[in-house]
């Protein structure tokens, strides 16, 4: 199994009631897989993160080792490695 540390920030942390969780995913599984694994562990986030089609809302920003997943060559389909850190952060716009 691949162990990944997931960090939750701001609103997401408040909804989940915790700021960190260790996820175990299968070798070859992706950021997207980890998101759904996280939602299985923390189901209180489901109504906030998923749209009517069961897809992640676009305002759930996921960062792999501090890089925005949207900027990675394979995006949310990037395969995870043991020890990776995922940050889940709500949209940030600045005053």
């Amino acid at each position: 199994m691949v162990q990944v540390e997931a960090h939750l920030f701001a609103t997401f942390k408040a909804i989940a009631g915790k700021n960190k969780i260790i996820l175990e995913v299968l070798p070859g599984q992706t950021i997207e897989d980890a998101c759904f694994a996280l939602l299985t562990s923390l189901p209180m986030l489901r109504s906030h993160w998923l749209d009517m089609n069961g897809q992640l809302q676009q305002y759930v920003h996921v960062y792999l080792n501090q890089s925005d997943s949207a900027t990675l060559p394979n995006g949310m389909l990037t395969e995870l490695q043991d020890g990776d850190i995922l940050d889940f952060i709500p949209p940030v716009a600045g005053g």
Binding site: H7, F9, A10, T11, K13, A14, I15, S47, H48, W49, D51, Q57, Q58, Y59, Y63, Q66, D68, A70, T71, D87, I89, P90, P91, V92, A93, G94, G95
Partner: protein, 722 residues
């Protein structure tokens, strides 16, 4: 504390001058006139607003700039009789069907930057001023004694009243004047908005304005700030204790709109979005802006110890949830009617630890992210009660939290570096995290004595003083003094975002995040990979963000809630659905078909006019657009060593230099050479995109294209090679 009672105030307020004017309704968002008060002669004049003024300057900040341009000559200084304080809401401002519609903008010659400053704040003043009959208020000259100006939109009366017994500090003065003019009912008090500064504005140039409104649920006076650039210092320099506006009949139809259905449609759409998604996104209704602390800390963007570092393990002590647990949720937190985002939180029953009000329980508005960054992490203070103490006294004394936070941080670092010592500071130990010393500096600023007054002059003045008086190294102070154009930089570290460096440094008024906040787009989301992309963003976003202060609107509604449609938007950073809402608002207001391009057109005129105005006053050119090096890269060994791996990797992979075997000093030098050259290239690209010449001045062609080609404007451009 013995305060003058309402009866005593009534007896002491003698009317110096009374002026009657005809009441008339607002039509399509405009009162169609402005009020000019000449305080030294007590003369009051009404000026018409014609269609050309509306077409060229739209309203709000645009009107303020145009009125000031016509009122002062190029040699005027901030404290000359001729300088004006100009205040305006905006045409859309005051509607209640769309959230965040109660802002006003203040424009003047700044005592801090010496150039044109604009600062905006919430509260009721802007809408009530317009409903009372004026799109803008100009105040020129200085009163011979301390006065209160009352604009009474219920009776069509303006009064200049001597105010000898009124307090100066905002939390007391706002209460006194709300009671005096509003009586003892909620309806009466809600009709009042008081604009005031505070005691420190009599001594230091970094004071802002507090804008009040009555909160009936909590039975409290609430305040928002137009904090930046010394607009409050100008108020007190004119011997004004407060400007009060009174209007009792504000309602959903006070703006005389052309198509209320269209405005309601925009309001319905955004209000549903906030209801559906705020709790899942930023939960502004419970956290306000302090939610940003932990995120900025995570991305190494939170200023720590005078912007040397970007994170601190103690930052969690001032995180959003800390404030949520302290906020008073007894009632809605909008700073104008109809705001559903409701981010204007406050902490009740805080017992002051220091100063003239020590031991009293007070209501503290905020704190906001910027104040927490400036007065918390940037000073190494992570104690929530200390934050409340600092925020309360900054507000009531009228001090801008950003400017004073950066100024104290600069003094702390000078103390650490041995430039200052206890002898020079009057016995104060300026050490990181020393909250009692920070309290005392604020009290000294208010009393006008001690080393606090030196700190209160701001970073630029301190640099000059410490070089001249204490022989400090000019380059070192330039590198670590976190100001541009004389205005202290707002609370984001931009070292890894070239676009944000440009956003701060090329902002005409000075480095304020409300004009350009590109740090996440650039550094985190990597949406601006080329110079052209950065230049385009530095064209679009500052102009777009300017639009809000033309209309009396709050920017948070635009970008602190994200619609579902953004998922498929071509340019999600612009939030097209919300831009469409704003088109509906302006079209609903005026009845004129409105496109996103029309909104940008309104704003681009004013944006360029402000730049040209600054050039006319001797600023607003390339030489004024350079940041301190700490904003661009690691200025000291400790900063480099804090992120050695990052900087070494950049040397190797981006700059093409092998860092092996090089000293830290050498690596700092090489990094600096590269980053400063990048910044120069960015300036060229941005100026070109904005239609400015190499000196950063709008060209004649640009002025003509935008229809701001008045003869004097063309002459200013020509004088700068435009």
């Amino acid at each position: 504390m013995n305060l003058a009672t309402v009866t005593q105030l009534q007896q002491s307020h003698h009317v110096i001058k009374e002026f009657k004017y005809a009441l008339q309704p607002v039509v399509h968002g405009y009162a169609n006139r402005t009020l000019h008060i000449q305080l030294d002669t007590n003369n009051m004049t009404i000026k018409p607003v014609d269609q050309k003024m509306k077409d060229t300057f739209t309203g709000g900040k645009g009107f303020c700039l145009w009125l000031l341009w016509n009122a002062i000559s190029k040699d005027v200084k901030w404290n000359d009789n001729q300088n004006e304080l100009v205040i305006a809401g905006g045409p859309i401002g005051g509607i209640t069907a769309y959230p965040g519609s109660g802002k006003c903008t203040v424009v003047t010659l700044s005592p801090l930057t010496k150039s044109i400053i604009d600062s905006n704040g919430g509260g009721y003043f802007g809408p009530l001023l317009k409903f009372s009959g004026f799109d803008a208020l100009e105040i020129q000259g200085k009163a011979k004694e301390d006065v209160v100006i009352l604009i009474d939109g219920d009776t069509g009366t303006v009064k200049i009243e001597a105010a000898p017994l009124d307090e100066v500090n905002t939390h007391l003065l706002s209460k006194q004047l709300t009671d005096l003019y509003g009586g003892d009912t909620d309806k009466g008090r809600r009709a009042i908005s008081v604009l005031s500064a505070g005691q420190a504005a009599e001594h230091i140039p970094m004071c802002g304005l507090n804008i009040s409104y009555w909160d009936p649920r909590r039975q409290e006076i609430r305040i928002k700030q137009a904090a930046r650039g010394g607009v409050g210092t100008v108020l007190r320099d004119k011997h004004i204790k407060a400007i009060v506006v009174k209007y009792s009949e504000a309602g959903g139809d006070s703006n005389g709109v052309a198509n209320m259905d269209l405005i309601r449609a925009a309001g319905k759409r955004i209000n549903k979005e906030i209801a559906d998604f705020d709790a899942s996104q930023n939960d502004m209704r419970h956290y306000g802006t302090p939610y940003l602390i932990e995120i900025m800390n995570r991305f190494n963007i939170l200023p720590v110890q005078n912007f040397r570092f970007g994170s601190d393990p103690e930052a969690s002590k001032i995180n959003g949830e800390v404030w949520k647990s302290m906020f008073d949720f007894r009632g809605p937190d909008g700073c104008w009617y109809g705001c559903s985002l409701q981010c204007a939180h406050g902490v009740p029953h805080y017992h002051l630890q220091s100063g003239p009000y020590k031991g009293e329980a007070v209501f503290v508005d905020g704190p906001e992210y910027e104040s927490l960054g400036a007065l918390g992490s940037n000073l190494g203070i992570f104690d929530p009660p200390a934050m409340l103490e600092l925020c309360f006294y900054c507000d009531t004394y009228g001090i801008d939290t950003i400017s004073v936070g950066n100024s104290i941080a600069f003094a702390f670092e000078c103390y650490e570096k041995g430039i200052l010592d206890k002898q020079k500071t009057g016995g104060l130990e300026l050490t990181w995290g020393n909250a009692p010393v920070a309290f005392e500096l604020l009290h000294q600023m208010a009393r006008g004595e001690g080393f606090g007054v030196t700190v209160g002059q701001g970073v630029r003045a301190m640099k000059a003083l410490f070089i001249e008086k204490y022989g400090a190294d000019p380059q070192m102070l330039q590198d670590m003094g976190m100001e541009i154009k004389g205005l202290e930089i707002s609370e984001y570290i931009s070292r890894e975002s070239l676009a944000q460096q440009g956003g701060y440094s090329m902002a005409t008024k000075g480095p304020q995040h409300d004009e350009a906040w590109l740090i996440f787009m650039d550094m985190v989301h990597k949406q601006l990979p080329t110079f052209e992309a950065k230049a385009e963003a530095l064209h679009y976003f500052p102009i777009w963000r300017t639009w809000f202060s033309l209309h009396g609107l709050c920017k948070l509604i635009w970008n602190d809630i994200i619609p579902v449609s953004n998922k498929t938007a071509k340019e999600p950073a612009k939030i097209p659905e919300h831009v469409e809402n704003y088109c509906w608002l302006f079209e609903g207001l005026t009845g004129k078909k409105t496109s996103p391009e029309d909104l940008m057109w309104q704003s681009e005129k004013v944006y360029n006019f402000q730049r040209l105005f600054s050039a006319r006053m001797g600023y607003g050119t390339r030489q004024h657009d350079y940041p301190p090096y700490r904003l661009i890269g690691p200025a000291t060994v400790e900063e480099y060593e804090n992120l050695t791996e990052r900087y070494d990797t950049q040397l190797r992979e981006v700059i093409g230099i092998n860092p092996e075997g090089k000293s830290i000093q050498e690596k700092i030098f090489l990094t600096r050479q590269y980053r400063e050259a990048q910044y120069e290239k960015l300036m060229d690209a941005v100026y070109l995109r904005r239609g400015w010449n190499k000196d950063g001045v709008p060209t004649q062609e640009t002025l003509k294209r935008l229809g701001i080609d008045m003869p004097e404007a063309l002459a200013v451009s020509a004088a700068h090679g435009g």
